[in-house]
Amino acid sequence: MQNDTRVPVVFDKVAKSFGTVKVLEELSLSVQPGEFLVLLGASGSGKTTALRILAGLETASSGRVRIAGRDVTEVLPKYRDVAMVFQSYALYPHKTVGENIGFPLKVRGEAAGAIEAAVKDAARQVELDALLDRYPRQLSGGQRQRVALARAIVRRPSVFLMDEPLSNLDAKLRGHMRSELKHMQHSFGITTIYVTHDQVEAMTLAHRVAILEKGVLQQLDTPRNIYNDPANLFVAGFIGSPPMNFLKGSLKDGRFEMPGGQLGTALNYSVGAAMLGLRPEDARVVPIAGAPIRGAIYTNELIGDHTLITCEVEGQMIAVKATKDFAGQPGDPVGIDASPASAFVFDATTGARMR
């Protein structure tokens, strides 16, 4: 693929409401040419709506959408030069694999010979050349997925849109297809917008991740920054597995105080009601004597390479990742410590990150 097919995509204050329900609120974001952008969010966050507005399958209630600098807000889907892979793959059950892949070219009225060559070429890239005469129902889940991909790449679109393309695959195949997708996007260099609810897909695939919640963009950044520097409580809780611990308390001269203990943070001021965020992997189990936070073991679960310990501290639960040979039993008293740099503080009412 040549560089001139790399086009930018811009959402300019795009909003969408169905009746009185607002599903998307003034989304503004620009996708760089050739970028792999992931829209991440739970169901109902508006991520699929944003994608469908970009595809032209829904009309924005307000705002503009630009592809390659052209305002396409009112343009029919077929003139936008985008290709989409659907969650269900949307393969035509009455057409063979070859006919499915060739469909976009047939619709454009291209010559039969050209279609055949392009179909073979696309099929080879996704390793489907041997299956062109089969019907979709005769294929496995992974193969169907690849047919959908081939149908998208066969006409060399300006933008790829993918709506949870891996969610119908089993866990093992999903990991495999994930790396295939990443490789393919890298080699084509086509601007790609990818919708998912799976944080692992988002972290591994994306150049940048846009996290949406209730129709509002929460944070747009690289996977690394989103993990290390979450913008608010929602992002902090959404990214990371097991999820971040949140503890209620107050901030006094930069020290977080809660019933059952206190912890130093990177801040240096006081707040009446604050929320402390602490990732299980950043917390340590320490001897109870002199520990900043003291509690008792509630459960311990051996995961394999580590032990996940849940501690109860004055009614609040804290999960801590410990070594796989940790030997404490439920009920044992235990101390918890963490470095000030790994402790995130959030406003207790708005959820905004305090810096």
């Binding site: 052209r70 305002d71 396409v72 807000t73 009112e74 343009v75 029919l76 003139y79």
Partner: protein
Amino acid sequence: MSIDSQHVLTRPGRASPVVVSRRNQFNEWLDQHSGRLFIAPAVILILLFSIFPTIASLVIAVSRVRLSADGFKFRFVGLQNFTKLFFGNDQIHFLGRFTEMSVIGWVLIIATSVWCARWLWRQWQAGFGVIGFIGRLITISALIGLAVVLAGTTLSGNQWGTLGTTMFYVVVGIAVQFGIGLGLAILCSQQIAGKNFFRVVFFIPMMITPLGVGYAFRMVADPTVGPFAPVWKWVGLGTFAWASDPWTARIFIIIGDSWQWIPFIFIVMLAALENVPRDHVEAAQVDGASASQIFREITWPAIIPVAATVLLIRSIEAFKIVDLPNIMTSGGPGIATESMTLQALFAWRSNDFGSSAAVAYLLLFLTVVLCASFFNFVVLKHIRKEQGA
């Protein structure tokens, strides 16, 4: 791409130029108007041959129509065609013969009125809506009207007219058909051998022309040369002609109608029964429910929506009944088996177009009111209850 040789396509009012080649302009036009193209032929056909005649029929119903050398001549006569049916010459034909009201008649009228009043009162308490209230008033007037006709005619020892006969076919016919159809469907949903055989055989009558059904039943029921003639003779009814007694004639027509239509109810209810989730039934079996309890508590609630729809479809068609009474009895003896459609057909044959249209319009009114009432106050109510729960 050079812009000169291309046609620039924009949606009206918005400036978003998109380049399209000129030879596709027609296809573009077609695509942009495809919404209308899809629906227009059906709308036009219905407007021309369904809505327009319905409105025209209303005009005929308030006219006296004469056939003359240069076509039809219309003269406006107001509601004369209708008043004739309710109060004039055709009252006996349409409503029936009224005399002194019997005690049972009064009881029925009072019971219906009390029930309607209670129903209205409950709705009033549940919350008042103007449209719903008007709808209920229309339903109630239709019900009380039917009760008065029934009470004044048959229940007081007189004969009813085509209105009563039509209602008889609808109510009794559908009750019989639904009961037997559901029963057969339940039997066929069991683990029985030859399920497909019964399914196909039981379905066949629905495909037979009603005309054929009428004549076939006339032959089969013939008391002298029909196949059951020896049986009639044996029980001492050898000379009895079923077609000459109003009630046996009506019952024979119901039997013919049921023979034809039970298959419809059977096949749909069977599909509904087979659609009931197996794990619900199995959970009930493990909990120790008997077969009848499983039907009452699990199966029946699951098939109610289908049952209601089937009843609705069936009653819409049942109000139009004409072929069987026409063939089997020609409406006789007297007018005992004459349905409203048949009355309209006979009026048309005698060139009385106004009366024919008036009867047809009353049939339309009756069908719409009763079917809409059934749908709104029975089916929808149940659906709302399901969704609320």
